[in-house]
Symmetry: C2
Subunit: 285 residues, 2 copies
């Protein structure tokens, strides 16, 4: 596995690969890799000649008071895991490499960014679009891989790639879970042992909400079930619990074809998110 | 010369060329071609395997009350001229092809867009960055060619390409002028015969301002000369006359290395712009 730190080196390598007609699969991450990231890398390996993974804790997508400084990092362990998962090139630039200029040019997502995580993290998705535009241009992938766990990010990126004609395909990869159902996340290490025991209740609550939604077809009823269940998790505060159309993230309507049931829950040292997608085609009339 | 109307066809053709290792030179235009555009195409032909020109009157960069509907168009004449200038592929999509969705995602330039033309055309450069991002992704050029005449556009694009790591180089091409000095522009056809006779005075005024600037080193003195001279053009109203640092478009300082002297003048049926760049290196202490 090749390791690259410099933006100019990354651009030169991907430019050469592209001109040789090699297909590049790209997996952007913030590191502290877990099975979720590795499943993206393995998926990329199946479909492409070369797999590039980036590890970059992107300051532009953290707000003031958020956990940029304390976000977990372990580059040497990550490099070992990435290599085992079939990554060919690991791109791990510094913030100074990625943002040498304090650019005033911003990319603003629309209403898709005003709900769910976006409501409590103003500017977060601006930062996501900024770094992904740069990373897509630097790695020139044919396909880029994103986990369904960050469903709002995925929805916004799919829209961005479509509306701005990026020459690549976005691949949705299912959320990888612990055996007890907890979605894998780099932030899980910050749970206390007691919280770790309670955390699978997030996914259980989403499943209860999804079941009620499938049975009743009534999003309000389903939301009530979800919120009540989340409210019973000891030591956890519900940040949001929503049912929306996916990927538009607008309110559900009669023409909605897919719904997302999503929640964010705050524990003492970690805010966890999870979601379930529900296919509505043929289900509602 | 190949003509392409569909976005998907354009993406497929440029993708194939890129994977064959062919270098693409790209010349974005709004059509109604004149010698200025053709000089861009010829320049592109010297340095690249394939020259792609786009002709697209971009609604996103026209404000309400601006001349989108009346902007001059003549595709068949343009196609002939483009072919003679060495264009290999002419991409001329419809607005519906380019904007099938009413995208909410916007790219906002910073303070560079608040001066000169940007001050009186709010949102104009948002639209320019939107369409160029799409066109760059669709044509995948190694080099893109812009005329120095639209100096603010060029400055913003250079900054955007640098800050967002677009895998291409921006080439500045000098303004092409009529024999009497008037900068070539698609909008020149809208001048009355009397106005056409007066119009070269814009460039003459810029030259007077530049001369005063070089001699005195005093931007205020130069600006006074420029404004006074523009004020004497019969039937013309000065929209702006400015001297700024280039390409930042901030006020001049002791460390400025290049200056732009720029003006916009409104005639009865056309608003014309022009500019002169002044190299300051070694000139100021």
């Amino acid at each position: 596995m090749k390791r690259i730190e410099k933006v100019t080196d990354m651009a030169a390598v991907s430019g050469r690969l592209a001109s040789e007609g090699k297909s590049i699969g790209f997996v952007p991450t913030m590191g502290y890799l877990h099975e979720g990231h590795l499943s993206l890398a393995r998926e990329a390996g199946k479909e492409n000649d070369v797999v590039i993974m980036s590890i970059f804790v992107n300051p532009a997508q953290f707000g003031p008071g958020e956990d940029f400084d304390s976000y977990p990092r372990d580059l040497e362990r990550d490099a070992e895991l990435a290599e085992k998962a079939g990554v060919d090139i690991l791109f791990h630039p510094t913030p100074e490499e990625m943002y040498p200029e304090n650019s005033e040019i911003r990319i603003l997502p629309g209403r898709q960014a005003d709900v769910l995580c976006g409501a409590s993290r103003p500017g977060h998705f601006d930062g996501v679009l900024k770094v992904l535009t740069k990373l897509f241009h630097l790695t020139m992938p044919e396909r880029a891989y994103f986990g369904q766990k960050d469903a709002q990010q995925l929805a916004i990126i799919e829209t961005f790639v479509r509306d701005y004609n990026f020459p690549l395909e976005i691949r949705r990869v299912p959320t990888v879970r612990e055996e007890d159902g907890l979605a894998k996340s780099s932030r899980n290490v910050r749970l206390t042992p007691e919280e770790r025991e309670q955390a699978p209740a997030i996914y259980e609550s989403l499943q209860q909400g999804a079941r009620m939604f499938r049975e009743s077809g009534d999003p309000d009823l389903a939301l009530g079930t979800l919120r009540k269940s989340l409210g019973h998790i000891p030591g956890a505060e519900t940040d949001y619990a929503e049912i929306l159309e996916y990927p538009s993230l607008r309110p559900l309507s009669a023409s909605s074809r897919e719904a997302i049931i999503a929640a964010a829950v705050q524990f003492s040292g970690a805010r966890l998110i999870d979601n379930i997608l529900v296919n509505l085609e043929g289900k509602r009339s």
